[in-house]
Symmetry: C2
Subunit: 452 residues, 2 copies
């Protein structure tokens, strides 16, 4: 049998991140200050982010150097393998050629450390002693705990309460790397105390946890805040995966017809597709399809309006123009905690608005059916979030079977599901629930959109 | 910083296993039939193993070809990386050069599929429809579930009851790959029913689970049994790791002064050290130290007599000459389920008896302290079993710091601890118990040794 994995050497890790802002054929809507209604400036973000990241957030340089210290940490697990899914192709009896970028080999088990390590580094450089953040299912929190530990920063993670209790192992992973983890809402912030006073059993949400982490950061001099998705600089750092994938596909002599990824805040898939979107925007690959997979229970792109909204529940963040379900919307408890976010990365939203990329919404039973098909062929048990991408790939591969077309389908296998096997258990025992589009709740939440 | 990982291409995966039986300067004690007191023949093993594996068990060919179908499956995750632990060396401030073979990248997360895949293949070749096995913490059971699934065999796993309830995710992993898992003792065998009648809450042990799996195999025509450690053919299959490591160290320009691994049944460490033991037995590397790490709570090599004993509790297996704590000994509930076995691989025992290798016994708090030190430097959170090796490496590296010697220390990082974070939680919260050498229980168990 031919090769399964296309590997690169450590000397082939890209030394620059790719910045799509240099190549967009349209201008991005400005980020708005909720108080003034005017575009924000760097000084507005300085209380929560270090200046190096604020500069990256607005930079239009096409390539940005990766600091040597960050490259050195990347070498702990990068370059990651690009797999040709030969066994799954055979199981699906498809002429399609399926590739996946396997980010599950990182110590925290996902793509998240690609940005966590960079963010920890820049904060350390600027004298920050402590970072705060939120986490849902725990992929992001564990990545930041990992990154902070390597650069000697303290790390405080506000973990959505329902996940804190459902996934204690993710908490232990963060603690093993030295982080402090509290369930959110917590007693450690004013906003958390207010919510607990209203409801001592409040299950929490990503939006609430972001509010707590931001409040903690602005109220401590030595502390800044770190976000694991959505923002431009986060997507920038993730382009390491797409650039590696491009090199690996060149070795394989292939170029994608279809790129697939799951989207919660959008960073893993953007990291994969942005270097290819460049080709499409330049007119080199007009037929390239870029498909975002989101949950039917939280369908920002496919059902939300393109509007200004807060990134968090307590309305502490600036306003971002994005496809949103409303900052007060609390999604149904699907197992893909990382996809339970009301908004979406502005870069992804703009590309979707301009029809460079497309999106589909999926129910979780269908998603797990695909993930089990994949696990039985390729071995790897993927995270529930990633399983959304797997489902779209399976559908496209089966269409190829119908049509006889040997399309090249590439997806970001963004993380393993070792901490999410409760979800597989629910699926295998027939107890997994499909939540239909929560129309009424979203209608209510959209009434709370800020006026801009 | 220089390279962290030494990688090989898929075309550099060894195509043969290395068989130490060709190179031993002494003869191995025969395996004895408990009824006759005479050495067993192939026909005695035929009810539970396929003939290809029985032949490998007694073969004295130095190299045995790896079937192409098995090589193809290995390519799903092999060759595995050999890491230079640069960050940990720095954290320990040691002049030692520390390398680790990282087997946690396999889909089941350990070295176990190296033999599981081969065993599933040979059984499939001989028309077997179904395999049974035992598992403790679950590494072996999930590896066999993975292997059986790829070759279309049914798989039934008897999982030690206390682990079945403590580690439900391992069960789900096996089920995701299509296996059937029951807690042992179970209602599915005569021996299990007998034990449950005596004590409905019996926690089980590896020895009991082996008895049930063997009984199941001998009482079904289409079924055979599969063992994940101890036997010669299992160690043979694991030599893929040691052979890869040798090639990788050659690339790095190094040769080990010290090899370290944890031992439960002995297969992961034997897989690493046997290709190097060959050099030592040939007189090429007389100063090479090969150190086995075992738990103080179950110290077969360091405290057991070298004697004939059964491999299981119900006395269904042939008698093996090994360092043993007695087949009725039930070890204290340390978190390293894979090290809770009364006996040890006969090959390891013979090499220990002839002083080719050495052994140390460790308490679990010290072991986890080392594992956390490793995780904070290198990122990877290792299995509790593997952590025993990490502790010995740390001690040897700190001795190098004292002496100023730049020794080359290599260990088998045999698996990740993603399903064992409850143990890390216990350690980090100060609730981990050290069990001293269970002298009285072992004295009792040794009274039950069979007379040969």
């Amino acid at each position: 049998m031919a090769e399964n994995k296309i590997m690169l050497g450590e000397d082939q890790i890209p030394t620059q991140w790719y910045n799509i802002l240099a190549d967009l054929p349209f201008s991005m809507p400005p980020v708005i200050h909720p108080g003034t209604g005017q575009p924000i400036g760097p000084e507005d973000l300085a209380p929560i982010f270090p200046m190096a990241l604020i500069k990256q957030e607005v930079s239009t340089e096409r390539y940005i150097d990766i600091p040597e210290e960050v490259q050195d940490v990347y070498k702990l697990w990068r370059p990651t393998p690009l797999y040709r899914a030969r066994r799954w192709e055979k199981a699906l009896d498809t002429p399609a050629r399926i590739y996946y970028k396997w980010e599950g080999v990182s110590p925290p088990g996902s793509h998240k450390p690609n940005t966590a390590v960079a963010q920890a580094y820049y904060n350390k450089q600027e004298g920050v002693k402590r970072l705060t953040t939120e986490t849902g299912a725990g992929q992001w929190g564990s990545a930041l705990a990992f990154g902070c530990n390597l650069f000697g920063l303290e790390c405080k993670v506000y973990m959505v309460r329902v996940s804190y209790h459902q996934k204690p192992y993710r908490r232990v992973l963060m603690e093993t790397w030295g982080a402090t983890v509290v369930p959110s809402p917590s007693e450690d912030t004013e906003f958390g105390r207010k919510l607990l006073a209203e409801d001592p059993d409040a299950p929490g949400s990503l939006g609430i946890a972001i509010s707590e982490a931001v409040e903690d950061a602005v109220s401590h001099d030595d502390t800044k805040y770190s976000l694991g998705s959505v923002l431009n600089h986060v997507l920038l750092h993730q382009t390491i995966t797409g650039q590696e994938t491009k090199k690996q596909l060149e070795i394989a002599g292939d170029y994608p017809d279809i790129l697939v990824g799951c989207i919660g805040g959008g960073s893993n898939f953007a990291g994969l597709f942005l270097p290819f979107a460049k080709d499409k925007l330049e007119g080199k690959t007009p037929s390239l399809r870029i498909i975002c997979a989101e949950p039917e229970a939280c369908p920002s792109l496919t059902r939300g309006p393109y509007a200004y909204d807060f990134g968090d529940t307590a309305m502490m963040t600036p306003l971002l123009k994005m496809y949103t379900l409303g900052h007060t919307f609390v999604p149904p408890p699907i197992h893909s905690g990382g996809l339970r976010y009301h908004g979406m990365a502005p870069i992804i939203c703009a590309l979707y608005h301009h029809k460079t990329i497309e999106a589909v919404a999926l129910h979780q039973n269908a998603v797990f059916e695909a993930a089990v098909s994949f696990a039985r062929a390729e071995g790897f048990v993927v995270a529930p979030e990633t399983a959304h991408a797997v489902k779209v790939v399976m559908d496209e591969a089966l269409k190829c079977k119908e049509s006889g077309e040997a399309k090249v389908i590439v997806f970001n296998n963004s993380g393993h599901g070792h901490f999410d096997l409760g979800a597989y258990d629910a699926y295998l025992s027939g107890e997994l629930k499909d939540y239909k589009y929560p129309e009424e709740k979203i209608k209510e939440a959209l009434k709370e959109l800020p006026k801009v």
